[in-house]
Symmetry: D2
Subunit: 137 residues, 4 copies
C-alpha cells in the first residue's frame, strides 16, 4: 500500500483574500498546486524535471469542499497525500488546516500525463512511478 | 420544474493563462463567479442586493471537470443553469464552451446562505426564491 | 499628432477584491491588459495576430497611481490612450473611472517589441505602426 | 539614516506564470506584498496588528521596472528596503533577484495610513515609527 504525505506551510496574503475577509474560493487552486509541487519535489523529482522529459500534467478534475474559512495572515498547512501509484491519472488529496490546526478544506485533484509534443495522454513515466514504489509497503 | 439558463461571454486574457499556454486550472473559479453573478443579475436580484439584506453566499463545494483547454483571446461562453429552487444550498451548473462552441469545462458549484451578522447558515431568502418560482413550470 | 482612445467596460468581481472590500492593488494589471488589448483589437490588429507574426510585447515598466477605490459590482470604464507611434517601445496611458464616472486610477504601461525566436528587442512592426498612422493628424 | 532590509524567498508557481512562460507582469503586486509584509513582521509589528489598532495601509502608487523574466520553479529573492521613517506615506523599495542572483525587477511601492473607521488619512502610528527608529543610525 502506498502512503506518502507531505505538509507544506503558507502564509495567507491580502492577495488571496476577497471582500468577505477570507481566502477567495477561486484561489485554492494555487494552494493545491503548492502542495503537490512540494510533495513531488521532496520525492526527488521536481515537476520541472518531468517537463524536461517532455511530460506535462494537465489537471483533469477537481473536487473541493470548503469546511472552514482561511483568514488573512494565517500560517496554514496544506497536507498532500498520494494513495496509489498512477497509471494514466495521478490523484492528489489535499487537506488544509488553518493556523489553529482546524480542518478548513478537503480536495481531490486528478491530473493526467501528456506528451508535450503530441498533446496525447501517456502512461505515468517510470521516473515517477519508480520513486513512488519506494513509499509502498 | 425549474429551468433557468444564462449565457455569459468573456474573452480570455494573458492574465488567465499559464505557461502551458492555456487558462490556468486555478483560474476557473472567477469564470464560474462571472456566470452565476450574471444569472442572478438577469433574474432581477443582483448579488450585491442580497448582501445589502445581510445575506452572503459562501461557496460550499466545487466539482470541476476539465474537458478541453481554453486558449488566449478566445471568446468563451459560460452557460450557467439552476435546476432547483434552493432551500439552504443553491446549486449552479456551469458549462463552458470555447470560441468554436466545443465543450471545454463542466462544473457544479454549491453555495450556502449565511447571515452576515451571526455568521450562521440561513434559508434561501424569499426575495430570491420568489424570483426563481417565476421560472418554474 | 497621434490621438487614439478606447473605452472598455468591466464589472468588478469578488475575485478582484481583497479583504479591504475594494479591488486589490495587485489586480490592476489585468485591467490595463484588458484596456490595451481592446484598443489594439479595435484598431484592427488583435495582439494575437502580432504573436502569429512572431512578435511578443513584454512589459517594460508600469507607473500606477491609486486615486480612488474600485468597489465590488461596479461597472468601471478603462480609458486607454496611445499618444505616439512607437519605435521600440509602446506607451499606453490608462485612466480608470468608477461607475459614477469618478477618477479612480491613472497608469502608464510601457511595452517593448521582442522577436519570439531570438528573444531580442525589435522595432515596432509596420503592421502596427501603419495602422497607428491612420489616427495621426 | 534609516537602513532596514529584509530578504524573502518564494518559489514561482504555475499560477504565477502566463503563456509567455514567465511570471505575468500583473502578478508582481503579490510579490511586493509578500516582501513588505515579511519586513514589517520581522521588525516586530505584523501588519495585522496595525489593523487591530484601526489602521489600514492602502497603496498610493507603484513604480515597477521589469529587468529580467522570472521563470517557473525559480526560488526568487525579494529584497525589501525602507529608507525613511514615514510621516504620512511609507515607501518600500523592492529588488527581486532570480535563482541565479540576477536582477529581475525593481519597484517602489508607496502606501498611506488610513483610519479604518473614518476612512481618512492619518500619520504613521507611533507603534510603527518607534520600531523604525531602532534601525536609524
Amino acid at each position: 500500500m502506498l502512503a506518502i504525505t507531505k505538509k507544506t506551510q503558507y502564509r495567507i496574503l491580502y492577495a488571496d483574500t476577497d471582500m468577505m475577509g477570507v481566502v477567495y474560493y477561486g484561489n485554492y487552486g494555487r494552494l493545491f498546486e503548492m502542495g503537490r509541487t512540494e510533495m513531488i519535489r521532496e520525492m526527488g523529482l521536481p515537476y520541472i524535471e518531468l517537463e524536461k522529459k517532455g511530460i506535462v500534467m494537465p489537471v483533469f478534475s477537481v473536487e473541493s469542499k470548503y469546511r472552514n474559512v482561511l483568514k488573512y495572515d494565517e500560517l496554514i498547512t496544506i497536507e498532500t497525500t498520494v494513495k496509489e501509484v498512477p497509471l494514466v491519472r495521478m490523484e492528489f488529496f489535499h487537506t488544509i488546516y488553518n493556523e489553529d490546526g482546524k480542518l478548513a478544506h478537503e480536495a481531490k485533484v486528478v491530473l493526467v500525463f501528456m506528451d508535450m509534443k503530441t498533446g496525447r495522454p501517456v502512461r505515468a513515466p517510470e521516473a515517477l512511478t519508480n520513486l513512488l514504489e519506494n513509499y509502498t509497503d
